[in-house]
Amino acid sequence: MSGGASLSRMSDGRVIGLSGSALSTLMPLHIWIGADGLIAHVGSTLARILPGTGLERRPLFDAVVVLRPAPLCDLADLSALQGQRIKLRLSDLADQTFTAMVVAQADGSLLLNLSFGASIADAVARYDLTLRDFAPTELTAELLFLKEAKSATLQESRALNLRLDGAKRRAQELSLTDTLTGLRNRRAMDGELGALTRDGPASRFGLMHVDLDHFKAVNDTFGHAAGDHVLLVVAEVLQSETRKDDVVCRVGGDEFVLVMKDCDDLKLLDAIARRIIARLEQPIVHEGEICRISASIGTTVSSFYNAPVADQMLSDADAATYQSKAAGRAQHTLFDPETRQSAALH
């Protein structure tokens, strides 16, 4: 490496001379270009990462490609960029861009100082750089420290967010679930009906209100454990008689609401209601005791209304259920929108 010295004129006219090794210590990524346009000296880190024989004695524009502010290949044009931000790359390292600045000196030589810029972290890995490759006054170590510390904290943050998100989902699920039966609860039903009625007449659905018959007698005769067991069987029946997307809710002690999505076929709904009643009338055995219940059901559908309102539909289905009860229980009644009364189908 040449031991040449660079001169720079101070404001009061004095100049300081720096040897090539002093320049390397201060600016390990510099290129010093003589007035003849040939490269005179290259900083130690730059020399280390360059493949081949290096840059010294090569014409500057043979080794360096100036990209920004504009391509150029004339020493005078380059020296006119003094103090500006320059982007360049080296012919021998085609895929590495450097940020650079140039200083022209009195003797016509140029000093070009390079930096890896934002690609510093990649460059450190690619060229296996160590702290010794940078001047201690450079902020490289701080920058890499910051990058690692940030990514470690971000990882912790992300893990916490995942845990919180999971906890939130579980809490949401719990807040919508009936603890005993695992069916949806009243809050979930309100949400479902709210969403369906918000769509106006476009969404077609059936609303079925199921009220168990004789459930109180089971509770009174065989105790609450038997009652709970019966409710679990009811939940199973209601779920198996509906589709996956339908919503089965327990809205009271022995009251259930079924929301049949995309279904307002009265015949089909009636058939489903009868099937439910028939299955609920099967004796339920609990600890040797036989529990017998049935159900009174009332149904309405969204197409009965110009603009379905959840509360109105619930109250109409409820009225139809009351009709079933009044007519002797264990039957299904369809709400009649003409008379605003409920009509028994049989």
């Binding site: 990649d122 010794r132 170590a141 910051l146 690692e148 912790e156 943050s157 916490l160």
Partner: protein
């Protein structure tokens, strides 16, 4: 106290002694479910209770346990990030010692709300340094003894560490360099393993 500090204690216990031991400590100290989060801040009293409970559960005096915590932080693979951040400071053990003073500032750059110990390193005779640590918990000095010992192994240096006690809320540690090139240190790449 910053969650990172509490979380370090939790990781130290779970990685070294297992989750069951940690669960016992968490229960007796009345800690939040699921333990500490590194990105939250906790009441200082919680840290006291955790350290007390840990010291009892591990049957170790606080001093010994804090030293083990320091060794763990600077050497355990699951908290490799800490060791890397310490190694960023210098290419030799002496450089590492002298740049410990920058640690607080660097940590602040990354996490403005993380209050790290205020460290001062003076060379009093050739090969002998005094580290002064000021922090809300002066007992951090014992943790630092563990860190300094583990980092000496990391650099392959042979050192003698003496905790000289706490005065005016500051811990003093004397570091005597016996041999800076005692053994092969561990590899360190500035770029990191998976860069």
């Amino acid at each position: 106290m910053h969650g990172l500090v509490n979380r370090s204690i939790q990781c130290f216990v779970t990685d070294t002694y297992g989750v069951d031991v940690w669960a016992r400590i968490a229960a007796s100290a009345g800690l939040p479910d699921g333990g500490f989060e590194a990105v939250l801040t906790y009441d200082d009293a919680l840290t006291d209770r955790t350290l007390d409970a840990a010291s009892r559960a591990l049957d170790k005096c606080p001093r010994e346990m804090l030293e083990d915590l320091g060794t763990y932080l600077a050497s355990n693979p699951t908290v490799e990030a800490v060791r890397r951040l310490l190694r960023f400071s210098g290419t030799t053990y002496v450089e590492f010692l002298l740049s410990l003073e920058d640690l607080r500032g660097r940590a602040r750059l990354a996490l403005p709300d993380l209050d790290m110990p205020d460290l001062e390193v003076c060379q009093d005779t050739p090969g002998s340094f005094v580290l002064t640590a000021r922090w809300v918990r002066p007992d951090v000095g014992h943790v630092l003894v563990g860190v300094l010992r583990a980092m000496a192994d990391d650099y392959g240096a042979l050192v003698l560490l003496e905790h000289e006690g706490e005065t005016d809320g500051a811990a003093r540690i004397r570091i005597s360099l016996l041999d800076t090139d005692f053994a092969m240190g561990r590899d360190f790449s500035l770029a990191g393993a998976a860069a």
